[in-house]
C-alpha cells in the first residue's frame, strides 16, 4: 500500500482505526483520504484496509 507517498506492506488486513493507532496517530488530530476519498472519522473503525490502498494522513502544522 501507499501511505503518504511511501510504500508499505500491509501484512494482514486491519481497520483504518487500528492502522492509525498502530502508527501512533491521534484520531482527533488527523484527517484521512483513502484512495482519494475523504473518510469521515465515524467510519475509521468500520473501514478495512487492503494492501492495494493509497492513504493520505494529514494534520495541522504551523503556517501563514
Amino acid at each position: 500500500m501507499r501511505v503518504n507517498g511511501e510504500s508499505l506492506k500491509l501484512e494482514v488486513p486491519c481497520t483504518l482505526k487500528a492502522f492509525l493507532e498502530k502508527n501512533g496517530h491521534m484520531m482527533d488530530r488527523v484527517a484521512v483520504e483513502l484512495n482519494e476519498k475523504i473518510i469521515p472519522k465515524a467510519e475509521f473503525s468500520s473501514i478495512v484496509l487492503s494492501d492495494a490502498d493509497k492513504i493520505e494522513i494529514v494534520s495541522f502544522v504551523g503556517g501563514g
Binding site: 503518504n4 507517498g5 502508527n23 501512533g24 496517530h25 491521534m26 482527533d28 488530530r29 488527523v30 484527517a31 484521512v32 483520504e33 475523504i38 469521515p40 472519522k41 493520505e56 494522513i57 494529514v58 494534520s59 495541522f60 502544522v61 504551523g62 503556517g63 501563514g64
Partner: protein, 256 residues
C-alpha cells in the same frame, strides 16, 4: 459603541490575525497571548509519523482557527485541502492560497477566483489571499468571498506595504473586510494599513523572525489598535506647498 470586527458571521475584538508558521510551538502560544490574536492561521500537511506534538495543543481554545490552502497550485487542489481541513473540525473559515510561482510566491489570482467559487459552493467561508488587483477582487466578491486578503509585499519578506495604493483602491471599491496579508514586517506598517481602512492585518514572519517574539507580538497588537483608532477618528488633512501655524498668530511679544 464597541468596535467589533465581524468575519464570517463571528465577532472579534482583535484585528490582529496571527500566522503560526516558522515558530517553535511554545512560541506560538506566547505570540498569541502577547498579541491578543483571536484568529490564528494554520497549514495542512502530511502527518509526521514521528513525534505526536500537535500545534493545536498550543493554541488557546478560544482562538478561531483559520486553515490555509497552502501547497495548492490550482483551485481543485485548494478544494481538496480545504475539505481535509474541515474534517479536522476547525469550522468553515478558510484562507484560500493558490500559488504556482515558487520564487516570489505570488498568488495566482485567476485560479484563486475559481477556488473562491468552488469553496463557497462547498459551504466554506472563503478568504482569498490575492495580488491586489481591483478587477480580481470584484470577481472574488462575486464568487462569494467573505473578505479579501491582498498582499502588502511577497510572503516572508518583511518589506511592508509595497502595494499600498492598490490596496487603498480595493478598500475604497470593495464592500467587504479587507485584510492585508503577507509582507507586513513592522508594527508601523501594520498601523498604516489600519489607518488606511483595512479591517485587520495578518502577520507571521514579522513576529517569528523578531528578536523577542512576545514583545514584537505586543507591539503589533498596539500598532493595529492605534491604526484602527486613527481610522475611526478620521485622519486630519494634508497640506501641500505651504504651512499652517498651529500656534496663534496674534499676541506675539514685542508686537507694536
Amino acid at each position: 459603541m464597541v468596535d467589533k470586527f465581524v468575519l464570517g458571521g463571528k465577532e472579534f475584538k482583535s484585528r490582529f490575525i496571527l500566522g503560526s508558521g516558522k515558530f517553535t510551538l511554545d512560541l506560538v502560544k506566547a505570540a498569541i497571548e502577547a498579541g491578543g490574536a483571536e484568529i490564528v492561521t494554520l497549514a495542512l500537511r502530511r502527518a509526521n509519523l514521528k513525534g505526536n506534538e500537535s500545534i493545536l495543543d498550543y493554541i488557546p481554545k478560544h482562538a478561531t482557527l483559520l486553515p490555509n490552502t497552502s501547497g495548492a497550485r490550482n483551485a481543485d487542489e485548494a478544494l481538496r485541502i480545504a475539505r481535509l481541513s474541515r474534517e479536522l473540525g476547525c469550522g468553515d473559515l478558510i484562507k484560500i492560497e493558490v500559488i504556482r510561482d515558487s520564487r516570489y510566491l505570488l498568488p495566482d489570482n485567476i485560479e484563486t477566483i475559481r477556488a473562491t467559487e468552488l469553496l463557497t459552493k462547498d459551504g466554506f467561508i472563503a478568504l482569498p489571499y490575492m495580488y491586489p488587483d481591483l478587477e480580481a477582487a470584484r470577481r472574488m466578491k462575486e464568487a462569494g468571498a467573505a473578505a479579501i486578503m491582498p498582499l502588502g509585499a511577497p510572503i516572508g519578506t518583511n518589506k511592508g506595504l509595497l502595494t499600498r495604493d492598490f490596496i487603498k483602491i480595493i478598500i475604497d471599491e470593495i464592500d467587504l473586510p479587507i485584510i492585508v496579508d503577507a509582507g507586513i514586517g513592522r508594527p508601523s506598517q501594520a498601523c498604516e494599513a489600519m489607518e488606511m481602512g483595512c479591517s485587520a492585518v495578518m502577520a507571521n514572519t514579522a513576529i517569528a523572525t523578531a528578536g523577542n517574539i512576545a514583545q514584537m507580538a505586543t507591539a503589533f497588537k498596539l500598532a493595529i489598535e492605534a491604526g484602527r483608532a486613527a481610522y475611526l477618528a478620521g485622519p486630519g488633512r494634508v497640506l501641500e506647498g505651504m504651512a499652517e501655524a498651529s500656534s496663534p498668530l496674534t499676541g506675539f511679544l514685542d508686537a507694536e
